[in-house]
């Protein structure tokens, strides 16, 4: 059985990786690190794991060599330590933002600091199974996209690849509070964050750069924090090249996602659940993608949703691991999602 480990196991992405990996039949979770909580039981901070594991966090100096190593550490810090991490495993799967952007200038522009290891960036394969599955089969370095970025990439790439979009894409993202991680501060104090509609990025959210890079489209993105712990929903608008008909759009999505295990096309004419909604996706690895046409208008409105901690992070990373390690792609990721929820 393959042995895997998680760096930053005490955070929210780290915890979600632990949830998925402890229940994964194809791998053995060998270690999870925390600088603050070394020696403490991991179910202390991740109470859902009670009865599922008796593992304790380890200090980094206890790390061995693993078949796969997940990095659930902050951006700007991960790049500083990447060389050590690379030495620790056959395959490194990075969930931070540090190795997602191919262009160092773009990184500096969006993250406010120069990249510390620009030469390593191109050695990473994007952790997007839907568009890089073949490369992922042999990739030793994988960089998983951001949560809103993945929702945008999965929503827009099929249209971009089919040449259906022209001009700029306006992306409006909504996100739950777990997207900001588990460090307490005024911004995520319950009394402040609860029920908020907080436009925390009216322009130039960082994930804008990832979506632009992956789709090749010019993108403008805003982001709003909404009342939710988990969940991202993204609404995008673009002009369609040629006639904006449901058939053309749907055909483009079908062609790409017909056999995808974790992308569903949700664009219904009736019912309560006509478009993607993160509410029913908590815990599941699905990204739902839908769209609407306004007859007579040249625009398409695209909607996507996912759980930021799963398909927007840990689940997607495990899917990449499955591909890379030759395990069934869905293994450990079959949870259906809840309704009502």
């Amino acid at each position: 059985m393959k042995r895997v480990a998680v760096i930053g196991g005490s955070g929210y992405i780290g915890g979600e990786l632990l949830r998925l990996l402890t229940a994964h039949p194809g791998v053995e979770l060998a270690a999870a690190t925390s600088r603050r909580l070394g020696g403490r039981l991991i179910d202390g901070v991740h109470p859902n794991l009670r009865g599922r594991t008796s593992l304790a966090f380890v200090d980094e100096d206890k790390l061995e060599h693993y078949d796969a190593l997940f990095l659930a550490t902050p951006h700007r810090e991960t790049m500083l330590r990447m060389p050590e991490f690379l030495a620790r495993a056959e395959v490194v799967i990075d969930l931070s933002a540090d190795f997602r952007l191919g262009c160092a200038d773009t990184y500096a522009d969006y993250y406010g600091v120069p990249h510390a290891a620009p030469e390593l960036v191109e050695t990473f394969v994007p952790g997007i199974p839907e568009f890089h599955r073949t490369r992922l089969r042999t990739a030793d370095r994988i960089s998983v996209p951001g949560c809103m970025a993945n929702a945008g990439i999965l929503a827009l790439t099929p249209l971009a690849q089919a040449g259906l979009i022209e001009g700029e894409v306006a992306v409006d993202a909504r996100t739950g509070s777990s997207g900001a991680g588990n460090t307490a501060g005024p911004a995520n104090l319950h009394a402040e964050r609860s029920g908020a509609l907080r436009v925390f990025a009216p322009t130039r959210h960082r994930h804008e750069a990832e979506i632009a890079q992956a789709t090749g489209l010019p993108v403008r993105m805003t982001a709003t924090g909404v009342e939710a712990v988990r969940g991202v929903q993204l609404l995008a608008r673009a002009n369609v090249t040629g006639e904006a008909t449901e058939r053309r759009i749907r055909a483009a999505y079908r062609a790409v996602y017909r056999d995808e295990p974790f992308v569903r096309i949700v664009a219904h004419r009736k019912g309560l659940h006509r478009f993607p909604d993160a509410k029913i996706l908590s815990g599941s690895n699905f990204c739902d993608v839908g769209f609407a046409i306004d007859p007579g208008s040249p625009q398409v409105t695209v909607i996507s949703a996912l759980d930021n901690l799963v398909k927007g992070g840990a689940g997607n990373a495990v899917q990449c691991m499955n591909i890379r390690l030759g395990l069934p792609e869905r293994e450990g990721l079959e949870f259906t999602g809840l309704h009502p929820n």
Binding site: G112, T175, S177, G179, A180, G181, A187, F200, A201, A223, G225
Partner: protein, 60 residues
């Protein structure tokens, strides 16, 4: 309102800013409109400049 001097303008958003009559140069005040932090460069006549910003991370 107490003793204030008017005539200063926020260099960022052009709001009219009232400076306390007993303010001193180098004090930091907030623009009421855009909430920039402004340094009082001179009190009479009142002149304001943008104070260096502490970065806030709105994360998420």
């Amino acid at each position: 309102m107490q003793n204030v001097i008017s005539g200063a303008e926020c260099p960022e958003c052009a709001a009219e800013i009232y400076v306390d009559a007993d303010a001193r140069a180098s004090e930091i005040i907030e623009c009421t409109d855009c909430r920039s932090e402004l340094e009082i460069t001179s009190v009479r006549p009142p002149v304001l400049s943008l104070a260096p910003e502490v970065e806030e991370d709105w994360g998420e």
